[in-house]
Every structure is written in C-alpha cells, then in structure tokens.
Amino acid sequence: MRSFAYHQPNAIPEAVSLLAEQPESRPLAGGMTLIPTLKQRLAAPAALVDLAGLPDIKGCSNGNAVVTIGAMTTHAEVASSPLVKSQIPALAALASVIGDPAVRDRGTIGGSVANNDPAADYPAGVLGLGATIVTSAREIAAENFFFGLFETALKPNEIITAIRFPVPLSAGYAKFKAPASRYAVVGVFVAKTATGVRVAVTGAGSGVFRVPQMERALAEAFDPTAIAAIKIDAEGLTSDIHADAGYRAHLVTVMAKRAVATALGAA
C-alpha cells in the first residue's frame, strides 16, 4: 500500500467536491474490494473519501411498491432486513449468499454496484428487478448503468446514494458459487413483475446480461420446465480456471430453472 490522504465528509456535496478537487481520489465504502487493490498496489489513489460519515445513505425504506436501499447498507443488513425479507425476499436471499460473514458485514450495496464485478451478485438483482440507481447527480435505470467488466455509467465524482427496487410479484435468485471466492460462477435472478418477466445473469460473461428468450418463455408459463430446453450460446461467455464457457452456458439454464422454482416457492 502507498500512503494516501483520508477524508471523512459528513455531507454528500462535500464528498462530491472532495472527489472533484482531487482527481486521483476514490470513494471508500466497505473497502472489501478497494483496500485489497491498494494493498496489492494495483491502484494508488492520492485520497480516499470515506462515505461512512454521510447521513441518509444507509438503511432500507419503502413506499409506492418500491424498496429503497441506501448505498452504504451492508450485505448483512439487507440480508436480515425485515422489510426486504417481506417485500423482496429474493433480494435478501441474494445478499445472504455474498462472500462470507466478514465480507457481508463490511461490503455495501453501493460499493458492489459501483464496482460492477462481472461475478458480483447485486448486478443480477439490480438488472433483474429493473431497479434505479440514484446518485449524487441523477437517476440511472439499471439498463443504462452496467457497461460490462467493471465499467459503469458513473462519472468520476459521482456517488451512488441509493438503489430503488420496484417490488416484483415474485422473484428468485440461484447462484452457483466459485468454491474459493464465493463469487458467482453463474448467478441468475428471475423476477415476475406486473409488466413481464426479467431474467438477469451474472458471472457468466463480462458483465450482467438479460436473457430475452427465457423471459418470453417464462412470460407464457412461469415454470422451470418452460426454460429447461433453452440452451445458452457459450460464445462470448467467460472461460477461466474455474469453469469453461460451455459449462457456464449450461449453468445459466440450470440456475434459471432453480431461480424460477424458488420464485414459485416464495410466491
């Protein structure tokens, strides 16, 4: 690690201006990804702007069939939130299978979404539920937020403050974990909403993506058998030491079926 300046602002505009003043600075949330990166000297920001002191960007609330989760809410808080568990149990379930207890106690939804790791869980929930990312500057639909492999629509001095999730009719998340990291080899989030079915896949490719073919099939019959025969093209999917692309393609179908089964069980 190299030395860096450390700021802990207590208002969002202050955080934004600290980031703007110092081009080499980065927001710090749970630090579960950022700190190891610094330790390995893969990044050496001049300053860290810790978001922990900001008011109103932590916790879960609801209204108008929307659950709003503050950016600094930890995975453990989402997993155990009575509100999330009753409104969108699949999202609480997703948070409960992220990493291990230590990671869940520190890692935040804002950090996870901003980081957009291709194997992270939240992007599947955010895209699968058609959520909205609320930042210090604007609101961005999930559709327009994730750009693949650690890239997002965020500007350098833009801070995610909350994510707004529309409450679905039912939803399910199924994840096949990488045994070492516990990130998703493949994770599939399926949501049945008033406007249709959404299927979002993480882990399989360079970023989260939807599967229209499955969405159409499930819109006709929301049942695992409806998609059992759908084969995903392995072309363009990730191959690494943990799983080859063909296997990942196969897992997408398996996990999608299991997510649907969970959604049916939970509905």
């Binding site: 330790k39 000297r41 799983a243 080859d244």
Partner: protein, 795 residues
C-alpha cells in the same frame, strides 16, 4: 499442587492459553531497535535472462538503505542453497544438482524467483523502491508441465541438464515384475495426475535478522519448522559463517505443513544483508508472495499397472512417474517423489514384486518439496485407485479384493519388496472397524434415496500405510540423506522439582507442549502444570532436526522418554545414598523413589533438592545437578496405517460433489492425547479432501504465470465443505519406539484423497467412468457426465 496428567488423557492444550488470548509471539510480532524493512523483488517471468539490473533510481529514493542483487552475492563468494538429499539413478549416477543461488545469477527460472532485496526505512519505501529497480529481462520460452518438459526440444532450464531430467530413479526388481506380468490373468491399467498443491499455512513466512558487531553474533528469527537445520545449512554451506556465531530462533509459528521445513533463500539473504547494512532487517511475506515462493507440493503424472491372478491376488505392480521439481532443488525436493514414494507402493498388501521408476524433472515453476504426507499420499493414491480399477475390471467387490490381498496381522513383521519392513499393523482390523463405523451395510438404501432426488451417491475405500518417524539415520544415509535424522531432548529438573524440557522438534500447532508434558508428567510423576516444553531456539536447545514427517512424538518423544529415564537412573543413585540402601533396591513409581519392601521413600522434589544442594550427597561418585540429555536415532520407520471410507453425493445437473460422510479408522500406535490425535486426523483428512475436491495450483502453459495465485482462486477447504467426521483409532503398538507410538501427523492426508476420489468414481460408475483426476471440480465432473451420456443423448 496440580495433578499428574499422563498418557491417554486429554487435558486442554497448554499452548492455547497464549494463542487464544492473543499472546502468541510470532516473527512478525517481533520488533528490534532500529529495525529496517526488506522487500524481495521477484521475477515476473517464468524463464528469462537478466541482461542487467539498474538500481540507481531505487538507491536515490529517500529512505532506501540498500539494494542487493545476485552480483553482490557472487562478489561476496557466497554458496548456493543446498539440497539435503542426493539421490542416484539405477546405474548409481548422482542426480543433476545445479546451483540454487539465493538471489538470481543471470537467469530467473520461475515466476517468484528472487532477483533483488531492497532495504528501506519502511515497508512502503522498500516496496516503492523495488518498483524502481529496472531489470532488463530477455524472456525465454518456458515449460511448466512435466510431460512437456521432457519432450525433445523443450526449453531447457539448465544447460547441463538434458531433457530437464534431474534423475531417472528406480526401485524394485524390474525383472521379477516383468515375469509376473507375463503370468498375470489380468492387468489393470491407470494413468493419473496428482495435482500440484500450495500449503497455505495461516501465518505467511517471515524473517528478521540482526548482527551484533560487538560479539560477531548473527541472530535470525524465522518461521521455521527446524531452526537448527537452518542454522547448519545457512552458516556452514551458504553464508560460510562459524556456526557458534549464528543463533536461529523460530518462535511461535502459525502452521507449517512442510512449507516451513526448508532452508529458504530469504533466510540467507536477510542474515547476510543485516550485517552489510548494520541494521536489523525484517521481511514479512504477503499472501500473494507466499503463493509464488513457498515450496509447492505433489505434481506427478503417473502410469500404473497392476498384475493379478485369476483369483484377484496381486502379483506385481509397475509404476512410472514423472515428478515435478520446479525450477531448483529445494531442501528435501528429490527425496519426496522417490524415497518417500516408491517404498510405500506396497501399501497394506502382500504384492510380491514391485517396480517403480520416477523421473524427477525441472520445470519453470516454484520448487516442489514436502507437503503434509510428502510422497506417501501420492503413493497411496496410485495404489488405492488402481486396486479399484482392478476390482471393477474383474468384477470383484472392492472390499473383498482388498481383503484378499491384505497382510494378515500374524504376518508382521512384514518385509515388503520395496526396502521397508513393517514392524506391526492390523489392516484387516482397521478395515472391519471402518466398515462398521461407516454403516456400509445400509449404503444401498442411502444410494436409492439419493437417486430419488436425482443425485448420484458413491462410496469410496482407501487403505494405506505410511512410513513416518523420519528416520533411521544409517538407512536414510544409504538412500541419500546428507544429514542425520535423530532427535534430542534435555530434561532439566529444577531444584524445586519443576521440569523444563528442551527439545529439538518444533511445535507449530501440533500441541507438543501438551503431549510432551504428559509424557514427562507420567514418567516422572510431576504435575502436568509443572512441566514446560522449550523449543525453537538454537541458543536454548542443544540440537534438533525439527518437526516434519510425523517425527516429533516418534523420534523427539523417544529422546524425551530416554532423557527422563536417565533422570530416574540418576535419581535412584541419589535416593540410594539418602535412604542408605543399595541402588538395586530403589524402586521409582509415581514420583517417588522408595526402598523395596519398606515405606522409606524420597520424592523427586527431595531428590532434586539434594542434587542441587549437595550437602548430603555422594559427590565422590556422582555429579550434582539433575539434568539429563538424550539423543535418539530410530531403528526403523514407524508404519501407521488405516482404512478410510468416504461417501459423496453428486448433483448431475451441476457436477457438484458433496462429501456427505467420512470415516477413518487409523492405527497410530499408542495414543498419548486422544483429543490431539483426533484434531490431527481431522486436519489431515481435510487437507486430503482439499486435494481431492478443491485445491489446484494451475500454471498458464504459455506464460508460466501462476493462475491460482490467491485465496480467491486457490480453494482451501472450509468448514461448510465438510461433514462431521467419524474418526477412531485401532492401534497395534509399534515394537521399536519406546512408548509404542507411531505418529499421526500425516495419516489423514495420506488416506483421504484416494477415499474421496474412489467415492466419486463409484458414484459415476454406472456411466462407465473409471477415473477422475483431482480436484474433482464441478466443471470436470459435469464434463465427464456429458461425455459419458453422449450416446444416451443421441438416442
């Protein structure tokens, strides 16, 4: 006054008081006055020439104290890192032994090879300065796998090592084996890979070195399993320092598993550097650094054949292995896949003829050396897998085939065709114990239940024998050991009767402070709490070979037992004087020296007082004091053995394997502390399960980069990967160790990989699967199922 807690009891571990309350004293906890920080610059390339190193920019950085490279090492005329074993090929030609410089000399041979040592005021400065050292590399083609390395035209690591073969070693009667194969009714064949592993002890390696110009004394604190051996190898052979001027301290060490039983270049570099800069210097490896510098384990490619008669009796075994040594020979490197592998191929069976050929091969990877089990898990894996293959080929039940070939209890001592003679054992007893404990009778019902939920269930058996308690020095010397393998212990009875033991083994998690104290408590009748065990400091402990190869209790405990006996012998002389009786009439029991047939007695405490305050004492014939030392050189290896049974369930949709049950019945000889033995078995089994299902060190074939270079990519087994295990002992006593002990440190790791993989293969047997390489990852299993079910899918 506390109590005697002796052999067979399970007191809480003495050492846990400090470990569990954060009072441990690890190398990285130690701070020396004026200490500077050192960082190693390591090769990013698997194979490259070093055309030049420009240290200027680094040296100019504020806070930088020195940048040392291979040129400085050469200028100081220092030696290379020694190999402790010299093996020879079938014709007696010694192995190729190229130098292993402590800092690279003109060439790097693996990613992680050390190029420079940067010393600065802080770790941060040293790390930044290391980035400023400009190394001009000419990258060469590299080779990481053994099959590729021996191919004609493969990149050569050393100019004078043709085909990268360090030694073409063999063992056994080739002609007898060939004859037996010609007569065989059936020959089972198997090709397999024993996957490369990374030990990952919880504490990363670290070292601090300090030089005292006033006394000329060097001190090295290091995360080592054998500080005396480090002192000898480093002073005598590498740095050419007088041994009496070098102190090596291995304080609390957070796990070793073999990874810390080698003399590493870092130790020599930092000791040498501390004198050059006249400052204490500290280096602590990061986890990432450990991945590319801790010695790796296993990495074999093997072809095996088993000849059987029509009744399934084993006639002969033929094994050909290519063993990866990595870029250089590490301390025990060439010994592991040869002497600790070939002689174990007899297992618990009466196979009359065995031939084993091992080509020991250099590649552009981290040097490979001992890792828990070291050679013996590899041998067990080959043998126990091919027995299953033979059983399935011949349609004989797997358990029945094993039973037919097992050495009966009455046949011990049993001479195998591969050098070793087993003193004791009862394989059939272990097998029967395990069959009952694993509830094998009802496996069919469980399998049917799994099938109803769409899962494949499998049962796997493994038996094994391990040669441990390294080692009889003379025997080891004939096999190529360049050192002795005895152990030493001193029992110091203090004037007030408490006891300090100074022992040459090293405790880094095994519980020696407890086990050894129990031995002393029992033998001398001293309260358990009044015995302390000292180890890990060459200035306090007389000498020692350290801890590895399940040797501490077997060899160190024997030395301790011998030293305690000497205390009793001297105590009897003192008691005879005090009690005015003849020495022959003095009887020692439960801490009391008494005159036979009388109630006259002296306690050990009273004897100690007399020995240290010798007013009424036979000074003319006896020295004062009550402290005795013993060295013990074992007469044979010990041979723990046992039977392990694994039960797995496979989800055919994902290929995921779940270990649902595990049973081990092991013969470890006398059990000193059942709780500690159980802990060793659990840990050992888990490491074997790790190899079977999760762990894999993967190198990229073209770049030679380690792909599984972090805990995010290299999967260590975790609690939720494992079922509750059933472990039990079924012991026969070792006939040649003082207490009948055999050792238990590695048994779990030796029996488990084969048991798990045999269970996985069993679960897939209906698809025609006959072998699964380790680790049995979901992807690999799914592919096997896909390939196997292709004809079905095509219907």
């Amino acid at each position: 006054m506390g109590n005697v807690i002796g052999i067979g009891a399970s007191p809480r571990r003495k050492e846990d008081q400090r470990f569990l309350t954060g009072r441990g004293n690890y190398v990285s906890d130690i701070k020396r006055p004026g200490m500077a920080a050192g960082v190693f610059l390591r090769s990013p390339h698997a194979h490259a020439l070093i055309r030049g190193i420009d240290k200027q920019a680094a040296l100019e950085m504020p806070g930088v104290i020195a940048v040392l490279t291979g040129e400085d090492v050469a200028a100081d005329g220092l030696g290379s890192l020694p190999c402790g074993w010299g093996i020879t090929d079938a014709r007696g030609v010694p192995m190729k032994e190229p130098p292993f410089p402590m800092l690279a000399q003109g060439k790097v041979r693996f990613v992680g090879d050390m190029v420079a040592f940067v010393i600065a005021e802080t770790v941060e400065d040293a790390s930044t300065a290391a980035e400023l050292v400009k190394v001009d590399y000419e990258v060469l083609p590299s080779v990481v796998g053994v099959l590729d390395a021996v191919r004609p035209g493969a990149p050569k690591l050393f100019d004078d090592v043709p085909n990268n073969i360090c030694c073409d070693w063999e063992l056994g009667d080739k002609a007898a084996v060939d004859t037996a194969f010609r007569k065989a009714a059936h020959v089972a064949r198997l090709s397999l890979v024993n996957n490369r592993l990374i030990g990952n002890p919880m504490e990363p390696r670290a070292a601090i070195a300090e030089y005292n110009p006033g006394t000329g004394q060097h001190t090295l604190w290091t995360t080592s399993q054998f500080p005396h051996v480090v002192r000898f190898l480093m002073s005598a052979l590498v740095l050419k320092l007088p041994e009496h001027k070098v102190r090596v301290v291995a304080p609390d060490v957070g796990g070793g598993f073999g990874v810390k039983q080698f003399h590493y270049g870092e130790e020599a570099v930092i000791t040498w550097a501390a004198k050059r800069v006249m400052r204490p210097v500290k280096w602590v490896a990061s986890r990432s650094e450990c991945y590319v510098s801790d010695r790796h384990g296993r990495d074999h490619v093997t072809e095996a054949e088993l000849a059987l008669d029509e009744k399934g009796k084993f006639l002969a075994l033929r094994v050909k292995t290519l063993a990866n040594m990595g870029g250089y020979l590490s301390t025990f490197g060439p010994n592991i896949p040869t002497n600790l592998y070939g002689p174990l191929l007899s297992g618990v069976y009466t196979t009359p003829a065995i031939y084993c050929n091992v080509k020991v091969v250099f590649t552009n990877t981290v040097p490979v050396d001992a890792y828990r089990g070291a050679g013996r898990p590899e041998a067990t894996f080959v043998l126990e897998r091919i027995v299953d293959v033979a059983a399935s080929d011949m349609g004989i039940d797997r358990v029945e085939l094993r039973r037919r070939n097992m050495i009966p209890k009455e046949a011990y001592p049993y001479q195998t065709p591969v050098l070793v003679q087993y003193d004791s054992g009862d394989p059939i007893g272990c097998l029967d114990g395990a069959l009952a404990a694993a509830d094998v009778k009802w496996f069919g019902t469980r399998k049917a239940a799994s099938a109803r939920s769409g899962k494949f269930r499998g049962l796997g058996f493994s038996t094994y024998v391990e040669a441990c308690g390294l080692a009889p020095s003379r025997f080891a010397g004939r096999l190529g050991a360049r050192g002795g393998l005895y152990e030493s212990a001193t029992v110091r009875v203090h004037p007030a009767g408490q006891v300090t033991v100074l022992i040459g083994t090293h405790n880094h998690g095994q519980g020696h402070e407890t086990t050894f104290a129990q031995i002393v408590s029992e033998k001398l009748g001293v309260a358990f709490e009044n015995v302390d065990i000292v180890f890990g400091d060459t200035d306090r402990v007389q000498f020692g070979m350290g801890t590895y190869g399940s040797r501490s209790l077997v060899v160190g405990g024997a030395a301790l037992s011998k030293a305690a006996d000497k205390v009793i012998v001297k105590g009897k002389k003192i008691a005879a004087h005090l009690l005015e009786a003849s020495e022959a009439d003095i009887h020692f029991e439960a801490g009391k020296f008494s005159v036979a047939g009388t109630d006259r007695a002296k306690t050990l405490g009273e004897i100690a007082v007399a020995a240290y305050v010798p007013h009424n004492y036979p000074l003319e014939v006896l020295e004062p004091g009550l402290e005795e030392q013993a060295y013990y050189d074992p007469v044979n290896f010990t041979y723990p053995g046992g039977c392990h049974i694994a039960e797995v369930e496979i989800d055919p949709e994902t290929g995921a394997v779940t270990l649902v049950d595990y049973t081990a019945v092991d013969d470890v000889g006398t059990v000193i502390n059942p709780m500690i033995v159980e802990g060793q078995l659990h840990g050992g089994i888990v490491q074997g399960v790790g190899q079977a299902l999760y762990e894999n060190a993967v190198y990229d074939e073209s770049s030679g980069q380690l792909m599984s270079g972090s805990l995010m990519d290299y999967c260590m087994p975790r609690a939720d990967h494992l079922p509750m295990m059933k472990v039990a002992t079924h012991s026969t006593l070792c006939t040649h160790t003082p207490m009948g002990v055999k050792g238990c440190g590695e048994v779990g790791t030796i029996g488990s990989p084969a048991a798990v993989i045999n269970a996985v293969v069993d679960a897939l047997a209906h698809l025609g699967v006959t072998h699964v390489d380790m680790p049995a990852t979901p992807n690999r299993i799914w592919r096997l199922i896909q390939n196997a079910s292709l004809p079905i899918a095509a219907e």
